[in-house]
Amino acid sequence: MKNYRGSILFVAGFAIALSAGWLAFPRAEYERQNQPIQFSHKVHRDKGGMKCEDCHAIRDDGTFSGIPAVDKCAGCHAAPMGTTDEEKRMIKRYIEPNREIPWLVYARQPENVRFSHAFHVKLAKLACERCHQAHGDSNSLPAFERDRVSGYSRDILGDPSLANAANRHPGMQMDDCIRCHQQRGVQDSCLACHK
């Protein structure tokens, strides 16, 4: 009996640690933040008949405009076009006072990463979906998840092994870049993609 008792306790501790590490930690690791306002890429594409590059353009100098400034939104939404409260909120909060919308950028790479959209879109002819998946079809913006430890967005620094159905597949980690570059036989030095 006595010996058993010892082993049981050991196993118990073992089990507790495992469950904590595999189940609790992945949730605790990320802090979830909601976007300042909801936004539907789908609506803008289908109803608005817009293409990605209408808002996310590559400038002449090869830099990428990223998420458009609020005046771009104001271009159409000076007055409500739809009936959603979300749109009204946006107009009231940001367009009227002409305040920039503090978007939380899922794909925002670390400061030391240099990613040229010009290269991948214009030369390599990659489609947006190649990295951004179906983000362009999304009807709503999921919560932004920030890794509490590294401070980076889950999309660029999530652990794929922890990726569950709930969140998008993280396809923008260094490993993903390297994998794709290897498949296409692109030889790179560190500073080709870091700055």
Partner: protein
């Protein structure tokens, strides 16, 4: 993704034109987000990717003469001293450009590469990089500031190479235009003493200057095949460089 595959970027510095004004040092610091010195920093703990030294002829007034010697990473192409020693591959020679890359985010700050570099072209971040409050907004968005405790050095303004590449890509070109990529020090030199370009291409001015009379490299016998050349018409300069160390301490 560097353009012009197998380029060997390098420069020739005309010591007879360098006035030692320091424009290259300032331009370099601004371009590469090198912070102003910490109050306690000295000429041995500062960060100057490009640093102008003064080499005297060792003779007293009025026969004393001196030459200004801009020193930056010499971009060694062979036996590159810093590459082999780095324990975690934070340093490498880019096959596409011949530029010696230093990855501050990979560096653990062991400083072995600094001991290895005979040109003293590597600098350690002894302090957190600090700009006077409000001056962070003058930082160059194309270069990531480094953190305390890592080594950094000249990478021939890699940010500018990136810029040139992106511009080319936007225009649908893979190769960059030669005059789209010029390091900050070269652009800034008021005396136009620095010629920059692709040494692998015999047609470039830099390649021809590198082969010209009076051109030399530092510590050539180490066989590091550095890509930074110097030239001077003054015989004593060549003498001083040949005779190597063991002279009076020099200023600058």
């Amino acid at each position: 993704m560097a353009a012009n595959k197998s380029a060997r970027y390098g420069m020739v510095i005309d010591l007879d034109r360098c006035t030692g004004c320091g424009a290259c040092m300032v331009a370099c610091a601004i371009e590469n987000n090198v912070p102003p010195a910490n109050a306690k920093a000295t000429e041995r703990t500062g960060i100057t990717w490009m640093r102008v030294h003064r080499l005297g002829n060792g003779r007293p007034f009025p026969d004393s003469r001196a030459v200004f010697f801009p020193i930056l990473c010499q971009q060694c192409g062979h036996h590159t001293p810093c590459v082999a020693v780095c324990p975690q591959n934070a340093v490498e020679v880019d096959a596409a450009t011949g530029i010696v890359d230093q990855m501050p985010q990979r560096c653990l700050g062991c400083r072995y590469c600094m001991a290895a570099c005979p040109y003293h072209a590597r600098y350690f971040n002894w302090w957190d990089p600090a700009w006077p409050a409000g001056m962070e907004k003058t930082l160059n968005p194309d270069v990531a500031p480094r953190m305390r405790g890592v080594v950094e050095k000249c990478n021939l303004c890699h940010g500018r190479l990136h810029r040139a590449e992106s511009k080319a890509a936007a225009e649908g070109r893979r190769d960059i235009a030669a005059n789209d990529y010029v390091p900050a020090c070269v652009e800034a030199c008021p005396a136009k003493a620095i010629t920059f370009g692709d040494l692998a291409d015999d047609q470039t001015e830099v390649a021809q200057l590198a082969r010209s009379e009076g051109a030399f490299r530092l510590l050539e016998k180490l066989g590091t095949e550095s890509k930074v050349y110097y030239r001077s018409e003054r015989p004593w300069v060549h003498q001083a460089v040949k005779s190597g160390i063991g002279k009076e301490p020099q200023r600058g």
